[in-house]
């Protein structure tokens, strides 16, 4: 065993309050806890019943995103909430934050948005932090060299009450992405291809570190897209070593270190790299230069194919069941399928560069007759920035709907749903049965592919539209 450490090991070691033993997990300190209305009410109830306060309100970042409507509104009382349950959840979150002294980034704050969009854009997400949220896509924050993972509601209660979690140290998986991504192929295509290669359980029990030329060349938003979908390979977390791209992104953001603290932070962050000679438990290599735009054809994100390649076949009951649900046959390319709905948004692809990518394809075009396209910014700030750049005008001129921020049609619990049997090309992260609505057929893709498909009216190669 060498003393050389991986990035993960460095962040882990720095947060161990009590080391693990054969009998007990480590007690791990959490630097940032992001909370939303869907996975926290039961945890706040536990605190209330036990008479416990939130231990560190200053390290707790609450917002509203999952069950909130995306129809235009001026205030919460005007909201067309999906149902009484959703409305009650939002009200209870507001009450919980008031009762426990938490500063809710809610309606009117100008900073509300999807948990994994606002953490980074506020500069609260930083290299070397431990970050958790009652949401599996917490792996997104690992793009900054944080150790970030999703937790259940019981654990949300643990963090609210103690700022700590009981954790066994996971294993490490190195993903080397060599070469350069070809033109028209982006971060979403890369992560879909990787999940296709290692499977939806390829990362179970592991923290992934993404490395290599293609990762280093990516901007922060692309890195977030990659880390976001680590959980779709079953991984606990995904991480990328921070570098000048990371520091440039964070500098000047409201919750990033300021003044003299900034220089000290950067000096500390520069140490957060895997040492030469450090060992990973597993390693996978992928050649970025060979990748193409990717689309899913089945009911999990590993059932993925290059846009012009035929859907593969497999002699397996689960595989057949998935294709049957999707009404898709092996042997034909996905480009033969017509599209009913296109969704651009979510914690995977709801950032400004994603909106820009979709708008770039849409510009000067109209979406096909019969296609419904929703573009949902990831946060108030993304919405504002997109409108300042006139992207909303391009989107609405093309015939798509420009909405209020939220998780929207990715999880379909706010009223934005795909109808039974409809085929949706979606920039979100899960194509599970019923994920976007009962009987909805989801094809995961990049914002460019989604926009191209909206114009074509069938699943389309974005390289023909740029």
């Amino acid at each position: 065993m060498s003393n050389n450490k991986t990035l993960f090991q460095k962040v882990w070691d720095e947060h161990v309050v009590v080391p693990e033993t054969p009998d007990t997990p480590a007690i791990l300190y959490i630097d940032l806890h992001i909370v939303h209305e869907v996975t926290t009410p039961q945890a706040f109830s536990v605190l209330r019943e036990s008479g416990l306060p939130v231990r560190r309100p200053d390290l707790t970042l609450p917002t509203l995103d999952h069950s909130t409507p995306t129809t235009p509104v001026s205030s919460f009382k005007d909201l067309l909430v999906a149902g009484e349950g959703a409305a009650n959840q939002v009200r209870q979150m507001e009450q919980n934050c008031a009762d426990f002294g938490l500063d809710l980034l809610g309606y009117g704050s100008g900073q509300r948005g999807i948990v994994h969009v606002i953490g980074p854009e506020l500069g609260a997400t930083q290299p070397g932090k431990t970050i958790v949220c009652g949401d599996s896509h917490s792996s997104t924050h690992g793009a900054f060299g944080a150790l970030a993972f999703g937790i259940g509601t019981t654990e949300v209660g643990h963090v609210l009450a103690t700022q700590c979690l009981l954790q066994r140290k996971p294993k490490t998986l190195e993903v080397n992405v060599d070469g350069k991504l070809p033109a028209g192929v982006g971060a979403k295509d890369l992560i879909l291809a990787l999940i296709g290669k290692i499977g939806v359980n390829g990362g179970t029990g592991h923290v992934i570190e993404y490395r290599g030329e293609a990762i280093e060349a990516m901007d922060m938003e692309s890195r977030m897209t990659v880390c976001n979908m680590s959980i779709e390979a079953g991984a606990r977390a995904g991480m990328i070593a921070p570098d000048s791209t990371t520091f440039d992104y964070l500098k000047g953001r409201p919750r990033a270190p300021q003044g003299g603290d900034w220089d000290a932070a950067v000096a500390r962050w520069e140490q957060l790299r895997t040492d030469d000679g450090a060992e990973f438990d597993k390693s996978v290599t992928i050649d970025a230069s060979e990748l193409q735009p990717m689309v899913t054809f089945g009911t999990n994100p590993a059932m993925v194919v290059a846009i012009n390649d035929p859907v593969p076949t497999r002699n397996d009951e689960s595989f057949r069941k998935a294709l049957n649900y999707m009404q898709i046959e092996s042997g034909q390319a996905m480009t033969t399928h017509s599209v009913d709905v296109v969704f651009v948004g979510s914690c995977t692809n709801g950032r400004i560069s994603d909106i820009e990518e979709a708008a770039g394809i849409l510009k000067g075009h109209k979406i096909a007759d019969g296609v419904r396209m929703l573009v949902v910014p990831g946060s108030d700030q993304v919405k504002q920035e997109a409108e300042e750049r006139g992207l909303d005008k391009i989107i609405t001129a093309a015939g798509a709907e420009w909405r209020e921020p939220g998780c929207s049609m990715c999880i379909a619990m706010n009223g934005d749903i795909v109808k039974p049997g409809q085929l949706s090309v979606s920039t979100s992260n899960r194509n599970f049965e019923g994920r976007q609505g009962v009987g909805a057929r989801t094809v995961l893709a990049s914002p460019a592919t989604a926009a191209a498909s909206a114009i074509a009216g069938y699943v389309a190669d974005p390289r023909n539209y740029s």
Binding site: Y29, G152, G234, S318, M413
Partner: protein
């Protein structure tokens, strides 16, 4: 939490692999602020037709599934969303244990914290259970073993602390609270402040 030393019951089999937590409890049922009463919506879209009638061919709807308390699932059970509503729904439905060859990390954590046994077993035993729905088995938490109907006992691994908490009925929040002095001294001595 009540101590759980042993679970004895009959199995029901859902052979599909990669059963995700969206299938266990769909997102539209998450607009609740309680952890109770979710069982009626467990596997809803697999259990019911559009008109609300039961899908006759779904395993849970067959008469043989009545009273079964152990769910045997295909490989990689519980993947996807971190929603703890998934184990809450399975417990409320009447399940006491889930068995597969692989169980997703977050689901497994959530399940064990709620007293739903999440048991990972070897391929051979799994294959036997998949082909023998309705088998009466006993899961012994202390011994980390499953006893099959022919009295054969098969071992499994369970994280030692989770097992201890199940056996003793220990609330992990209490365990963390007992570490409060260690947490305070960690906060004081760390070299940078988050």
């Amino acid at each position: 939490m009540k101590p759980i030393k042993q679970v004895r019951g009959r199995t029901v089999v859902l052979p599909t692999r990669d059963i995700d937590t969206d299938q266990i409890i769909a997102a539209r049922f998450l607009t609740t602020t309680s952890s109770e009463g979710l069982g009626k919506n467990a596997f809803y879209d697999l259990r019911y037709n559009d008109d609300g009638s039961e899908k006759a061919d779904f395993a849970l709807n067959q008469p043989a599934a009545d009273g079964c308390s152990i769910l045997v699932g295909g490989n990689n059970f519980g993947c996807g969303s971190s929603r703890e509503h998934a184990p809450w729904a399975l417990l409320d439905y009447g399940f006491e244990a889930v068995i597969s060859t692989e169980i997703a990390d977050i689901f497994k954590n959530n399940a064990l914290k709620n007293g739903l046994l999440a048991i990972v077993i070897d391929d051979v035993t799994h294959e036997w259970l998949m082909s023998n729905p309705g088998a009466e088995v006993t899961i012994d938490v202390a011994a980390c073993s499953i006893t099959l109907p022919d009295e054969r006992a098969v071992g499994f691994e369970m994280e030692s602390f989770a097992r201890y908490c199940l056996l003793e009925g220990i609330d992990q929040l209490g365990f963390l609270q007992n570490a409060s002095s260690a947490i305070e001294s960690y906060e004081e001595k760390r070299s940078w402040r988050p």
